[in-house]
Protein backbone atom coordinates (compact mmCIF):
# COMPACT_ATOMS: atom_id res chain seq x y z
CA UNK A 1 0.00 0.00 0.00
CA UNK A 2 2.81 2.38 0.93
CA UNK A 3 4.54 1.78 -2.36
CA UNK A 4 1.47 2.49 -4.42
CA UNK A 5 0.82 5.54 -2.29
CA UNK A 6 4.31 6.86 -2.98
CA UNK A 7 4.06 6.29 -6.70
CA UNK A 8 0.59 7.78 -6.53
CA UNK A 9 1.93 10.91 -4.93
CA UNK A 10 4.43 11.31 -7.75
CA UNK A 11 1.60 10.55 -10.16
CA UNK A 12 -0.63 13.13 -8.50
CA UNK A 13 2.15 15.66 -8.96
CA UNK A 14 2.36 14.82 -12.66
CA UNK A 15 -1.41 15.13 -12.99
CA UNK A 16 -0.90 18.53 -11.37
CA UNK A 17 1.67 19.44 -14.03
CA UNK A 18 -0.82 18.65 -16.80
CA UNK A 19 -3.76 20.30 -15.03
CA UNK A 20 -1.96 23.53 -14.27
CA UNK A 21 -0.69 23.61 -17.83
CA UNK A 22 -4.25 23.27 -19.12
CA UNK A 23 -5.47 26.04 -16.81
CA UNK A 24 -2.60 28.27 -17.87
CA UNK A 25 -3.19 27.62 -21.54
CA UNK A 26 -6.86 28.58 -21.11
CA UNK A 27 -6.34 31.68 -18.97
CA UNK A 28 -3.21 33.21 -20.38
CA UNK A 29 -2.51 33.89 -24.02
CA UNK A 30 0.93 32.68 -24.94
CA UNK A 31 1.20 30.30 -21.94
CA UNK A 32 1.29 27.31 -24.26
CA UNK A 33 3.53 28.98 -26.82
CA UNK A 34 6.78 27.26 -27.67
CA UNK A 35 8.80 30.03 -26.04
CA UNK A 36 6.92 29.86 -22.76
CA UNK A 37 6.87 26.05 -22.60
CA UNK A 38 10.58 25.93 -23.31
CA UNK A 39 11.31 28.52 -20.62
CA UNK A 40 9.26 26.57 -18.08
CA UNK A 41 11.00 23.32 -19.01
CA UNK A 42 14.46 24.82 -18.62
CA UNK A 43 13.64 26.54 -15.32
CA UNK A 44 11.93 23.38 -14.07
CA UNK A 45 14.96 21.27 -14.94
CA UNK A 46 17.33 23.71 -13.22
CA UNK A 47 15.20 23.52 -10.10
CA UNK A 48 14.97 19.72 -10.33
CA UNK A 49 18.77 19.36 -10.52
CA UNK A 50 19.14 21.65 -7.49
CA UNK A 51 16.44 19.68 -5.65
CA UNK A 52 17.91 16.23 -6.36
CA UNK A 53 20.11 16.38 -3.27
CA UNK A 54 17.29 17.80 -1.18
CA UNK A 55 15.21 14.75 -2.18
CA UNK A 56 17.90 12.29 -1.07
CA UNK A 57 18.51 14.19 2.15
CA UNK A 58 14.79 14.25 2.94
CA UNK A 59 14.43 10.52 2.29
CA UNK A 60 17.06 10.24 5.01
CA UNK A 61 14.87 12.39 7.25
CA UNK A 62 17.15 15.44 7.11
CA UNK A 63 17.10 18.81 5.39
CA UNK A 64 19.83 20.69 3.56
CA UNK A 65 19.74 24.46 3.93
CA UNK A 66 23.22 24.87 2.41
CA UNK A 67 21.96 24.29 -1.16
CA UNK A 68 21.59 28.00 -2.06
CA UNK A 69 25.00 28.79 -0.61
CA UNK A 70 26.68 25.94 -2.49
CA UNK A 71 24.93 27.07 -5.68
CA UNK A 72 26.38 30.55 -5.17
CA UNK A 73 29.78 29.08 -4.33
CA UNK A 74 29.92 26.98 -7.51
CA UNK A 75 28.57 29.82 -9.60
CA UNK A 76 31.20 32.31 -8.48
CA UNK A 77 34.19 29.97 -8.21
CA UNK A 78 33.55 28.39 -11.62
CA UNK A 79 33.31 31.80 -13.28
CA UNK A 80 36.43 33.13 -11.57
CA UNK A 81 38.53 30.09 -12.40
CA UNK A 82 37.31 30.07 -15.98
CA UNK A 83 38.06 33.77 -16.20
CA UNK A 84 41.62 33.18 -15.06
CA UNK A 85 42.19 30.51 -17.71
CA UNK A 86 42.06 27.25 -15.73
CA UNK A 87 41.13 24.24 -17.97
CA UNK A 88 37.41 23.51 -17.84
CA UNK A 89 37.70 19.87 -16.77
CA UNK A 90 39.95 20.88 -13.91
CA UNK A 91 37.43 23.53 -12.85
CA UNK A 92 34.67 20.93 -12.81
CA UNK A 93 36.84 18.67 -10.67
CA UNK A 94 37.74 21.47 -8.26
CA UNK A 95 34.20 22.86 -7.88
CA UNK A 96 32.37 19.53 -7.61
CA UNK A 97 35.12 18.06 -5.40
CA UNK A 98 35.02 21.02 -3.04
CA UNK A 99 31.21 20.85 -2.93
CA UNK A 100 31.39 17.14 -2.10
CA UNK A 101 33.75 17.87 0.79
CA UNK A 102 31.50 20.65 2.11
CA UNK A 103 28.45 18.38 1.97
CA UNK A 104 30.25 15.39 3.46
CA UNK A 105 31.41 17.56 6.35
CA UNK A 106 27.86 18.74 7.12
CA UNK A 107 26.41 15.24 6.84
CA UNK A 108 29.09 13.59 8.92
CA UNK A 109 28.89 16.21 11.68
CA UNK A 110 25.10 16.00 11.84
CA UNK A 111 25.07 12.22 12.10
CA UNK A 112 28.13 11.73 14.30
CA UNK A 113 27.15 14.34 16.87
CA UNK A 114 23.33 14.09 16.46
CA UNK A 115 23.07 17.80 15.72
CA UNK A 116 20.05 18.77 13.65
CA UNK A 117 21.14 19.09 9.98
CA UNK A 118 19.11 22.28 9.66
CA UNK A 119 21.55 24.05 11.98
CA UNK A 120 24.73 22.44 10.63
CA UNK A 121 23.90 23.14 6.98
CA UNK A 122 22.82 26.67 7.84
CA UNK A 123 26.12 27.30 9.63
CA UNK A 124 28.29 25.62 7.03
CA UNK A 125 26.40 27.36 4.22
CA UNK A 126 26.92 30.74 5.86
CA UNK A 127 30.64 30.04 6.20
CA UNK A 128 30.89 28.95 2.55
CA UNK A 129 29.09 32.01 1.26
CA UNK A 130 31.11 34.37 3.42
CA UNK A 131 34.29 32.64 2.25
CA UNK A 132 33.32 33.18 -1.38
CA UNK A 133 32.49 36.82 -0.75
CA UNK A 134 35.77 37.42 1.05
CA UNK A 135 37.64 35.69 -1.78
CA UNK A 136 36.01 37.81 -4.49
CA UNK A 137 35.78 40.91 -2.25
CA UNK A 138 32.06 40.94 -3.05
CA UNK A 139 32.68 41.56 -6.76
CA UNK A 140 32.66 38.24 -8.62
CA UNK A 141 34.02 38.21 -12.13
CA UNK A 142 34.23 35.81 -15.06
CA UNK A 143 31.72 33.98 -17.18
CA UNK A 144 30.77 30.49 -18.32
CA UNK A 145 32.39 28.60 -21.21
CA UNK A 146 30.17 28.77 -24.32
CA UNK A 147 29.23 25.08 -24.25
CA UNK A 148 27.56 25.54 -20.87
CA UNK A 149 25.65 28.51 -22.24
CA UNK A 150 24.29 26.41 -25.09
CA UNK A 151 23.65 23.47 -22.75
CA UNK A 152 21.06 25.49 -20.83
CA UNK A 153 20.18 28.19 -23.35
CA UNK A 154 16.50 28.99 -23.91
CA UNK A 155 17.25 29.10 -27.63
CA UNK A 156 19.12 25.79 -27.64
CA UNK A 157 18.07 22.69 -29.49
CA UNK A 158 18.79 18.98 -29.48
CA UNK A 159 18.93 18.05 -33.18
CA UNK A 160 15.46 18.88 -34.49
CA UNK A 161 13.99 19.14 -30.98
CA UNK A 162 13.41 22.71 -29.80
CA UNK A 163 14.92 22.54 -26.30
CA UNK A 164 18.49 22.64 -24.92
CA UNK A 165 20.45 19.58 -23.83
CA UNK A 166 19.60 20.32 -20.20
CA UNK A 167 16.15 18.80 -20.71
CA UNK A 168 17.21 15.34 -21.95
CA UNK A 169 20.02 15.45 -19.37
CA UNK A 170 17.46 15.88 -16.59
CA UNK A 171 15.34 13.04 -17.97
CA UNK A 172 18.35 10.70 -18.04
CA UNK A 173 19.31 11.87 -14.56
CA UNK A 174 15.80 11.06 -13.31
CA UNK A 175 15.95 7.54 -14.71
CA UNK A 176 19.43 7.06 -13.26
CA UNK A 177 18.33 8.22 -9.82
CA UNK A 178 15.29 5.96 -10.00
CA UNK A 179 17.57 3.02 -10.74
CA UNK A 180 20.07 3.92 -8.02
CA UNK A 181 17.35 4.29 -5.40
CA UNK A 182 15.64 1.01 -6.29
CA UNK A 183 18.45 -1.29 -7.28
CA UNK A 184 21.62 -0.38 -5.44
CA UNK A 185 22.82 -1.03 -1.92
CA UNK A 186 23.14 2.72 -1.40
CA UNK A 187 19.52 3.35 -2.44
CA UNK A 188 18.00 0.70 -0.22
CA UNK A 189 20.16 1.72 2.74
CA UNK A 190 18.99 5.31 2.25
CA UNK A 191 15.34 4.32 2.63
CA UNK A 192 16.10 1.95 5.51
CA UNK A 193 18.00 4.57 7.50
CA UNK A 194 15.31 7.15 6.83
CA UNK A 195 12.58 4.72 7.80
CA UNK A 196 14.02 3.60 11.14
CA UNK A 197 17.47 4.84 12.22
CA UNK A 198 17.62 2.56 15.26
CA UNK A 199 16.82 -0.59 13.30
CA UNK A 200 19.22 0.51 10.57
CA UNK A 201 22.18 0.56 12.93
CA UNK A 202 21.35 -2.94 14.11
CA UNK A 203 21.04 -3.94 10.44
CA UNK A 204 24.70 -3.00 9.88
CA UNK A 205 24.12 0.40 8.28
CA UNK A 206 26.70 3.04 9.23
CA UNK A 207 24.70 6.26 9.60
CA UNK A 208 27.69 8.60 9.56
CA UNK A 209 28.98 7.16 6.26
CA UNK A 210 25.54 7.29 4.65
CA UNK A 211 24.81 10.82 5.85
CA UNK A 212 28.20 12.05 4.65
CA UNK A 213 27.65 10.42 1.24
CA UNK A 214 24.14 11.79 0.86
CA UNK A 215 24.94 15.35 1.88
CA UNK A 216 27.99 15.20 -0.42
CA UNK A 217 25.69 14.20 -3.29
CA UNK A 218 23.32 17.00 -2.36
CA UNK A 219 26.14 19.54 -2.50
CA UNK A 220 27.49 18.14 -5.77
CA UNK A 221 24.13 18.53 -7.50
CA UNK A 222 23.65 21.97 -5.97
CA UNK A 223 27.06 22.89 -7.40
CA UNK A 224 26.03 21.50 -10.78
CA UNK A 225 22.90 23.64 -10.65
CA UNK A 226 25.11 26.61 -9.79
CA UNK A 227 27.26 25.96 -12.87
CA UNK A 228 24.15 25.63 -15.06
CA UNK A 229 22.79 28.88 -13.63
CA UNK A 230 26.07 30.56 -14.60
CA UNK A 231 25.43 29.48 -18.17
CA UNK A 232 21.80 30.57 -17.90
CA UNK A 233 22.30 34.06 -16.48
CA UNK A 234 25.65 34.75 -18.15
CA UNK A 235 27.31 36.34 -15.13
CA UNK A 236 28.15 35.13 -11.66
CA UNK A 237 26.70 36.14 -8.31
CA UNK A 238 27.10 34.65 -4.86
CA UNK A 239 23.38 35.19 -4.18
CA UNK A 240 22.10 33.50 -7.32
CA UNK A 241 21.00 30.48 -5.27
CA UNK A 242 18.88 32.41 -2.75
CA UNK A 243 15.43 31.49 -4.18
CA UNK A 244 16.44 27.83 -4.21
CA UNK A 245 16.34 27.48 -0.44
CA UNK A 246 12.56 27.32 -0.26
CA UNK A 247 11.94 26.20 -3.82
CA UNK A 248 13.90 22.95 -3.40
CA UNK A 249 12.05 22.12 -0.20
CA UNK A 250 8.70 22.94 -1.82
CA UNK A 251 9.45 20.93 -4.98
CA UNK A 252 10.43 17.88 -2.92
CA UNK A 253 7.34 18.10 -0.72
CA UNK A 254 4.93 18.71 -3.60
CA UNK A 255 6.59 15.70 -5.26
CA UNK A 256 5.46 13.50 -2.39
CA UNK A 257 8.64 12.97 -0.36
CA UNK A 258 7.84 13.23 3.32
CA UNK A 259 10.19 15.06 5.64
CA UNK A 260 9.92 12.29 8.23
CA UNK A 261 12.13 10.08 6.06
CA UNK A 262 11.97 6.70 4.35
CA UNK A 263 9.50 7.67 1.65
CA UNK A 264 9.51 9.41 -1.70
CA UNK A 265 11.70 9.69 -4.75
CA UNK A 266 13.12 11.94 -7.42
CA UNK A 267 10.44 11.35 -10.05
CA UNK A 268 7.99 13.20 -7.84
CA UNK A 269 10.49 15.99 -7.25
CA UNK A 270 10.81 16.55 -10.99
CA UNK A 271 7.03 16.89 -11.19
CA UNK A 272 7.05 19.13 -8.11
CA UNK A 273 9.66 21.40 -9.70
CA UNK A 274 7.59 21.69 -12.89
CA UNK A 275 4.44 22.44 -10.89
CA UNK A 276 6.20 25.25 -9.02
CA UNK A 277 7.60 26.82 -12.17
CA UNK A 278 4.24 26.55 -13.96
CA UNK A 279 2.46 28.18 -11.04
CA UNK A 280 4.98 31.03 -11.02
CA UNK A 281 4.60 31.57 -14.75
CA UNK A 282 0.83 31.43 -14.41
CA UNK A 283 0.77 34.01 -11.62
CA UNK A 284 3.16 36.33 -13.40
CA UNK A 285 1.09 35.89 -16.57
CA UNK A 286 -2.00 36.97 -14.65
CA UNK A 287 -0.30 40.27 -14.11
CA UNK A 288 0.52 39.94 -10.43
CA UNK A 289 3.45 41.86 -8.99
CA UNK A 290 6.49 39.88 -7.77
CA UNK A 291 5.32 40.38 -4.18
CA UNK A 292 1.82 39.10 -4.92
CA UNK A 293 3.27 36.15 -6.86
CA UNK A 294 5.24 35.22 -3.75
CA UNK A 295 2.21 35.45 -1.48
CA UNK A 296 -0.04 33.56 -3.91
CA UNK A 297 2.59 30.86 -4.30
CA UNK A 298 2.57 30.42 -0.54
CA UNK A 299 -1.20 29.91 -0.57
CA UNK A 300 -1.02 27.47 -3.51
CA UNK A 301 1.73 25.37 -1.92
CA UNK A 302 -0.43 25.14 1.21
CA UNK A 303 -3.45 24.04 -0.83
CA UNK A 304 -1.45 21.45 -2.78
CA UNK A 305 0.19 19.94 0.28
CA UNK A 306 -3.04 20.03 2.28
CA UNK A 307 -4.73 18.14 -0.54
CA UNK A 308 -2.40 15.17 -0.57
CA UNK A 309 0.74 15.63 1.49
CA UNK A 310 -0.52 15.59 5.07
CA UNK A 311 1.23 13.84 7.94
CA UNK A 312 -0.21 10.93 9.86
CA UNK A 313 -2.07 11.53 13.07
CA UNK A 314 -0.09 10.83 16.20
CA UNK A 315 -2.37 7.91 17.09
CA UNK A 316 -1.21 6.00 14.02
CA UNK A 317 2.37 6.26 15.26
CA UNK A 318 1.75 4.48 18.54
Amino acid sequence: MTRTLVSNRALVAFVGVVLIFAIGAMLIPGFSSLFSVRAMLVLGCLLAVAALGQTLVMILGGIDLSIPFVIGFANVVFASLYGSGVPVLLIFAIVLGAAALIGAFSGAISAALSVHPLIVTLGVGTIVQAGVQIWTKGLPTGSAPPFINTFVSLGGSVGPLPFPWLVPFTVVLTVAVLFVLRRTIYGRKLYALGSNPKAAELALIRPVVLWAMTFALSAVFAALAGIFLLGFTGSSSANVGAPYLFQTVSAVVIGGTALIGGRGGFVGTLAGALVLIELRTLLIGMGLSEAMVQAALGVLILLLVAAYGRDQHIRTLI
Partner: protein, 330 residues
Amino acid sequence: MTPTETTPRAGGAWRTILAARADTRLAALLFVVLLVINIVLNPARFSPTNWLSVLGLAAPLLLASLAVTIPFLAGRGSIDVSVGPLMGLINVIIVQVLITSAGIGSPVVLVAAALVLGLASGVLNGFLAAILRIQPIVATLSTYLIYAGLTLVILPSPAGTVPAWLSAFSGWLSFIPVGAAVVIWLIIRRLPYYDLLMAVGSDDRAAYTSGVNVPAVRFTAYVLAGLFAGLAALSLTGLIGSGDPNIGPGYTLIAIAAVALGGVSLAGGVGGMTAAFLGAADIFLLQSMLTAFNVSTFVLQMTYGIVLVLAVCLNSEKLKLYLRNRMRPQ
Protein backbone atom coordinates in the same frame (compact mmCIF):
# COMPACT_ATOMS: atom_id res chain seq x y z
CA MET B 1 11.88 15.45 31.51
CA THR B 2 14.58 18.05 31.91
CA PRO B 3 15.40 19.71 35.20
CA THR B 4 13.97 23.16 35.54
CA GLU B 5 15.97 26.34 35.20
CA THR B 6 17.26 27.85 38.38
CA THR B 7 15.34 30.72 39.84
CA PRO B 8 17.17 33.97 40.58
CA ARG B 9 18.79 34.07 43.97
CA ALA B 10 20.78 36.51 46.07
CA GLY B 11 23.96 35.75 44.09
CA GLY B 12 22.71 37.89 41.24
CA ALA B 13 22.51 37.43 37.53
CA TRP B 14 25.98 35.95 37.11
CA ARG B 15 25.28 33.10 39.43
CA THR B 16 21.91 32.44 37.86
CA ILE B 17 23.43 32.28 34.41
CA LEU B 18 26.37 30.11 35.39
CA ALA B 19 24.26 27.77 37.47
CA ALA B 20 21.85 27.25 34.59
CA ARG B 21 21.35 23.88 32.99
CA ALA B 22 24.13 22.07 31.17
CA ASP B 23 22.48 22.78 27.80
CA THR B 24 22.86 26.52 28.25
CA ARG B 25 26.21 26.51 30.05
CA LEU B 26 28.22 27.01 26.87
CA ALA B 27 26.02 29.89 25.76
CA ALA B 28 26.29 31.42 29.23
CA LEU B 29 30.07 31.17 29.18
CA LEU B 30 30.19 32.73 25.74
CA PHE B 31 27.86 35.48 26.98
CA VAL B 32 30.17 36.38 29.85
CA VAL B 33 33.27 36.38 27.65
CA LEU B 34 31.63 38.44 24.91
CA LEU B 35 30.15 40.88 27.40
CA VAL B 36 33.55 41.50 29.00
CA ILE B 37 35.18 42.02 25.60
CA ASN B 38 32.41 44.39 24.56
CA ILE B 39 32.67 46.41 27.76
CA VAL B 40 36.44 46.70 27.35
CA LEU B 41 36.14 47.67 23.69
CA ASN B 42 33.31 50.11 24.10
CA PRO B 43 32.89 51.19 27.73
CA ALA B 44 30.62 54.11 26.89
CA ARG B 45 28.11 52.06 24.98
CA PHE B 46 27.88 49.40 27.65
CA SER B 47 27.85 51.73 30.64
CA PRO B 48 24.91 51.21 33.03
CA THR B 49 23.22 54.43 31.93
CA ASN B 50 23.05 53.02 28.43
CA TRP B 51 21.77 49.58 29.32
CA LEU B 52 18.21 50.25 28.26
CA SER B 53 19.34 51.37 24.80
CA VAL B 54 21.47 48.26 24.43
CA LEU B 55 18.47 46.18 25.48
CA GLY B 56 16.41 48.03 22.88
CA LEU B 57 18.93 47.14 20.19
CA ALA B 58 18.94 43.51 21.19
CA ALA B 59 15.22 43.19 21.90
CA PRO B 60 13.92 42.23 18.41
CA LEU B 61 16.33 39.30 18.21
CA LEU B 62 15.76 38.28 21.85
CA LEU B 63 12.00 38.18 21.32
CA ALA B 64 12.21 36.55 17.89
CA SER B 65 14.40 33.84 19.42
CA LEU B 66 11.88 33.25 22.18
CA ALA B 67 9.17 32.99 19.52
CA VAL B 68 10.97 30.33 17.46
CA THR B 69 11.89 28.43 20.64
CA ILE B 70 8.34 27.50 21.63
CA PRO B 71 7.47 25.35 18.56
CA PHE B 72 10.89 23.69 18.78
CA LEU B 73 10.00 22.60 22.32
CA ALA B 74 6.94 20.77 20.97
CA GLY B 75 9.09 18.31 19.00
CA ARG B 76 8.58 16.06 15.98
CA GLY B 77 9.68 18.63 13.44
CA SER B 78 7.65 21.48 14.90
CA ILE B 79 9.19 24.71 13.67
CA ASP B 80 8.00 28.21 12.86
CA VAL B 81 10.07 29.83 10.12
CA SER B 82 7.45 32.53 9.54
CA VAL B 83 8.46 34.51 12.65
CA GLY B 84 10.76 36.90 10.75
CA PRO B 85 8.37 37.83 7.91
CA LEU B 86 5.55 38.10 10.46
CA MET B 87 7.57 40.75 12.33
CA GLY B 88 8.00 42.56 9.04
CA LEU B 89 4.30 42.28 8.20
CA ILE B 90 3.20 43.61 11.60
CA ASN B 91 5.75 46.42 11.25
CA VAL B 92 4.36 47.63 7.93
CA ILE B 93 0.73 47.17 9.01
CA ILE B 94 1.31 49.29 12.11
CA VAL B 95 3.27 51.99 10.31
CA GLN B 96 1.62 52.12 6.90
CA VAL B 97 -1.96 51.06 7.55
CA LEU B 98 -2.59 52.20 11.13
CA ILE B 99 -0.26 55.17 11.67
CA THR B 100 0.17 56.70 8.21
CA SER B 101 -3.19 55.91 6.58
CA ALA B 102 -5.60 55.74 9.52
CA GLY B 103 -3.76 58.26 11.65
CA ILE B 104 -3.93 56.16 14.82
CA GLY B 105 -1.33 56.96 17.44
CA SER B 106 -2.86 55.44 20.56
CA PRO B 107 -0.53 53.02 22.36
CA VAL B 108 -3.44 50.80 23.37
CA VAL B 109 -4.67 50.33 19.82
CA LEU B 110 -1.25 49.83 18.26
CA VAL B 111 0.05 47.43 20.90
CA ALA B 112 -3.21 45.50 20.79
CA ALA B 113 -3.06 45.39 17.00
CA ALA B 114 0.50 43.99 17.03
CA LEU B 115 -0.40 41.31 19.55
CA VAL B 116 -3.66 40.37 17.83
CA LEU B 117 -1.90 40.07 14.47
CA GLY B 118 0.78 37.91 16.08
CA LEU B 119 -1.83 35.70 17.72
CA ALA B 120 -3.78 35.43 14.46
CA SER B 121 -0.67 34.26 12.65
CA GLY B 122 -0.03 31.80 15.45
CA VAL B 123 -3.56 30.44 15.10
CA LEU B 124 -3.08 30.09 11.34
CA ASN B 125 0.29 28.33 11.67
CA GLY B 126 -1.01 26.14 14.46
CA PHE B 127 -4.06 25.18 12.44
CA LEU B 128 -1.98 24.30 9.38
CA ALA B 129 0.81 22.45 11.18
CA ALA B 130 -0.89 20.87 14.19
CA ILE B 131 -4.51 20.39 13.15
CA LEU B 132 -4.32 20.00 9.37
CA ARG B 133 -0.97 18.19 9.83
CA ILE B 134 0.91 19.83 7.00
CA GLN B 135 4.58 19.24 7.73
CA PRO B 136 5.48 22.22 9.94
CA ILE B 137 8.39 23.46 7.87
CA VAL B 138 6.26 23.44 4.73
CA ALA B 139 3.30 25.06 6.46
CA THR B 140 5.32 27.87 7.99
CA LEU B 141 7.42 28.23 4.85
CA SER B 142 4.21 28.92 2.98
CA THR B 143 3.08 31.48 5.53
CA TYR B 144 6.63 32.89 5.31
CA LEU B 145 6.09 33.48 1.57
CA ILE B 146 2.59 34.86 2.15
CA TYR B 147 3.69 37.33 4.87
CA ALA B 148 6.79 38.45 2.96
CA GLY B 149 4.68 38.98 -0.18
CA LEU B 150 1.90 40.87 1.64
CA THR B 151 4.49 43.04 3.38
CA LEU B 152 5.88 44.18 0.03
CA VAL B 153 2.38 44.74 -1.32
CA ILE B 154 1.44 46.97 1.62
CA LEU B 155 4.71 48.90 1.61
CA PRO B 156 7.05 48.38 -1.34
CA SER B 157 9.89 50.48 0.10
CA PRO B 158 10.82 51.86 3.56
CA ALA B 159 8.64 54.78 4.64
CA GLY B 160 6.73 56.34 7.53
CA THR B 161 7.42 57.45 11.06
CA VAL B 162 6.25 56.28 14.46
CA PRO B 163 5.03 58.13 17.59
CA ALA B 164 7.60 59.00 20.23
CA TRP B 165 6.33 56.41 22.72
CA LEU B 166 6.88 53.66 20.17
CA SER B 167 10.42 54.88 19.39
CA ALA B 168 11.05 54.79 23.12
CA PHE B 169 10.59 51.01 22.95
CA SER B 170 14.16 50.98 21.66
CA GLY B 171 15.33 53.39 24.37
CA TRP B 172 14.19 54.03 27.93
CA LEU B 173 11.00 51.98 27.49
CA SER B 174 12.83 48.97 26.01
CA PHE B 175 12.10 46.98 29.15
CA ILE B 176 8.38 46.96 28.33
CA PRO B 177 8.26 44.46 25.42
CA VAL B 178 11.07 42.33 26.88
CA GLY B 179 9.60 42.53 30.39
CA ALA B 180 6.17 41.56 29.07
CA ALA B 181 7.70 38.52 27.35
CA VAL B 182 9.52 37.51 30.54
CA VAL B 183 6.33 37.82 32.57
CA ILE B 184 4.32 35.82 30.03
CA TRP B 185 6.99 33.13 29.96
CA LEU B 186 7.14 32.93 33.76
CA ILE B 187 3.37 32.52 33.82
CA ILE B 188 3.54 29.77 31.20
CA ARG B 189 6.19 28.04 33.28
CA ARG B 190 3.78 27.84 36.18
CA LEU B 191 0.89 26.48 34.14
CA PRO B 192 0.24 22.77 33.64
CA TYR B 193 0.58 23.54 29.93
CA TYR B 194 4.35 23.88 30.29
CA ASP B 195 4.68 20.30 31.56
CA LEU B 196 2.48 19.04 28.73
CA LEU B 197 4.57 20.93 26.18
CA MET B 198 7.82 19.46 27.46
CA ALA B 199 6.27 15.99 27.69
CA VAL B 200 5.04 16.18 24.09
CA GLY B 201 8.44 17.44 22.94
CA SER B 202 10.36 14.69 24.73
CA ASP B 203 8.16 11.79 23.68
CA ASP B 204 4.91 12.57 21.93
CA ARG B 205 3.82 8.93 21.68
CA ALA B 206 4.15 8.41 25.43
CA ALA B 207 2.36 11.72 26.02
CA TYR B 208 -0.44 10.71 23.66
CA THR B 209 -0.91 7.29 25.24
CA SER B 210 -1.12 8.89 28.66
CA GLY B 211 -3.99 11.05 27.44
CA VAL B 212 -2.36 14.33 26.39
CA ASN B 213 -4.09 16.09 23.52
CA VAL B 214 -0.90 16.33 21.45
CA PRO B 215 -2.33 18.39 18.55
CA ALA B 216 -3.81 20.93 20.98
CA VAL B 217 -0.47 21.31 22.79
CA ARG B 218 1.34 21.86 19.49
CA PHE B 219 -1.34 24.27 18.29
CA THR B 220 -0.90 26.35 21.44
CA ALA B 221 2.87 26.38 20.91
CA TYR B 222 2.41 28.09 17.53
CA VAL B 223 -0.07 30.56 19.05
CA LEU B 224 2.48 31.49 21.72
CA ALA B 225 5.15 31.85 19.05
CA GLY B 226 2.84 34.30 17.26
CA LEU B 227 2.30 36.26 20.48
CA PHE B 228 6.05 36.64 21.10
CA ALA B 229 6.57 37.53 17.44
CA GLY B 230 4.02 40.32 17.97
CA LEU B 231 6.11 41.68 20.86
CA ALA B 232 9.23 41.32 18.71
CA ALA B 233 7.52 43.33 15.97
CA LEU B 234 6.79 46.13 18.45
CA SER B 235 10.44 46.24 19.49
CA LEU B 236 11.55 46.17 15.88
CA THR B 237 9.18 48.97 14.91
CA GLY B 238 10.43 51.07 17.80
CA LEU B 239 14.02 50.38 16.86
CA ILE B 240 13.82 51.27 13.17
CA GLY B 241 11.26 54.01 13.76
CA SER B 242 9.59 53.47 10.39
CA GLY B 243 8.06 50.81 8.17
CA ASP B 244 10.58 48.62 6.35
CA PRO B 245 9.48 45.65 4.22
CA ASN B 246 12.97 44.18 3.85
CA ILE B 247 14.16 43.80 7.40
CA GLY B 248 11.80 41.19 8.87
CA PRO B 249 12.51 37.95 6.95
CA GLY B 250 16.21 38.03 7.92
CA TYR B 251 15.27 37.45 11.56
CA THR B 252 14.10 33.87 11.03
CA LEU B 253 17.44 32.25 10.31
CA ILE B 254 19.36 34.36 12.85
CA ALA B 255 16.81 33.50 15.53
CA ILE B 256 17.02 29.79 14.71
CA ALA B 257 20.81 30.01 14.88
CA ALA B 258 20.54 31.87 18.18
CA VAL B 259 18.34 29.29 19.88
CA ALA B 260 20.51 26.43 18.63
CA LEU B 261 23.49 28.27 20.08
CA GLY B 262 21.59 28.71 23.33
CA GLY B 263 21.10 24.96 23.63
CA VAL B 264 17.47 24.57 22.55
CA SER B 265 17.07 21.13 20.99
CA LEU B 266 15.41 21.18 17.58
CA ALA B 267 14.17 17.68 18.37
CA GLY B 268 11.98 18.98 21.17
CA GLY B 269 11.70 18.94 24.93
CA VAL B 270 14.91 20.83 25.78
CA GLY B 271 15.22 24.58 26.21
CA GLY B 272 13.35 27.63 27.36
CA MET B 273 13.54 31.38 27.69
CA THR B 274 17.00 31.40 29.29
CA ALA B 275 18.45 29.37 26.42
CA ALA B 276 16.76 31.53 23.78
CA PHE B 277 17.83 34.81 25.38
CA LEU B 278 21.40 33.66 25.99
CA GLY B 279 21.80 32.47 22.41
CA ALA B 280 20.32 35.68 21.04
CA ALA B 281 22.47 37.79 23.38
CA ASP B 282 25.56 35.89 22.19
CA ILE B 283 24.78 36.67 18.58
CA PHE B 284 24.04 40.28 19.40
CA LEU B 285 27.26 40.73 21.39
CA LEU B 286 29.27 38.98 18.69
CA GLN B 287 27.87 41.37 16.13
CA SER B 288 28.54 44.33 18.41
CA MET B 289 32.11 43.19 19.04
CA LEU B 290 32.93 42.64 15.38
CA THR B 291 31.43 45.99 14.47
CA ALA B 292 33.74 47.57 17.03
CA PHE B 293 36.65 45.91 15.23
CA ASN B 294 35.37 47.43 12.00
CA VAL B 295 35.40 44.18 10.03
CA SER B 296 33.48 43.69 6.79
CA THR B 297 30.01 42.16 6.82
CA PHE B 298 31.48 39.07 5.12
CA VAL B 299 33.87 38.44 8.00
CA LEU B 300 30.96 39.02 10.35
CA GLN B 301 28.90 36.46 8.46
CA MET B 302 31.72 33.93 8.51
CA THR B 303 32.20 34.38 12.25
CA TYR B 304 28.47 33.73 12.80
CA GLY B 305 28.74 30.53 10.84
CA ILE B 306 31.85 29.29 12.63
CA VAL B 307 30.52 30.13 16.09
CA LEU B 308 27.21 28.46 15.29
CA VAL B 309 28.75 25.22 14.01
CA LEU B 310 31.33 25.06 16.79
CA ALA B 311 28.77 25.79 19.49
CA VAL B 312 26.21 23.22 18.41
CA CYS B 313 28.98 20.63 18.06
CA LEU B 314 30.39 21.36 21.51
CA ASN B 315 26.86 21.28 22.91
CA SER B 316 26.23 17.85 21.42
CA GLU B 317 25.23 15.24 23.98
CA LYS B 318 26.95 12.57 21.91
CA LEU B 319 30.28 14.42 21.98
CA LYS B 320 30.02 14.93 25.73
CA LEU B 321 29.26 11.26 26.25
CA TYR B 322 32.17 10.24 24.07
CA LEU B 323 34.61 12.53 25.88
CA ARG B 324 33.35 11.33 29.25
CA ASN B 325 33.93 7.71 28.25
CA ARG B 326 37.39 8.61 26.99
CA MET B 327 38.40 10.41 30.17
CA ARG B 328 37.10 7.72 32.50
CA PRO B 329 40.05 5.80 33.92
CA GLN B 330 40.01 2.13 33.10
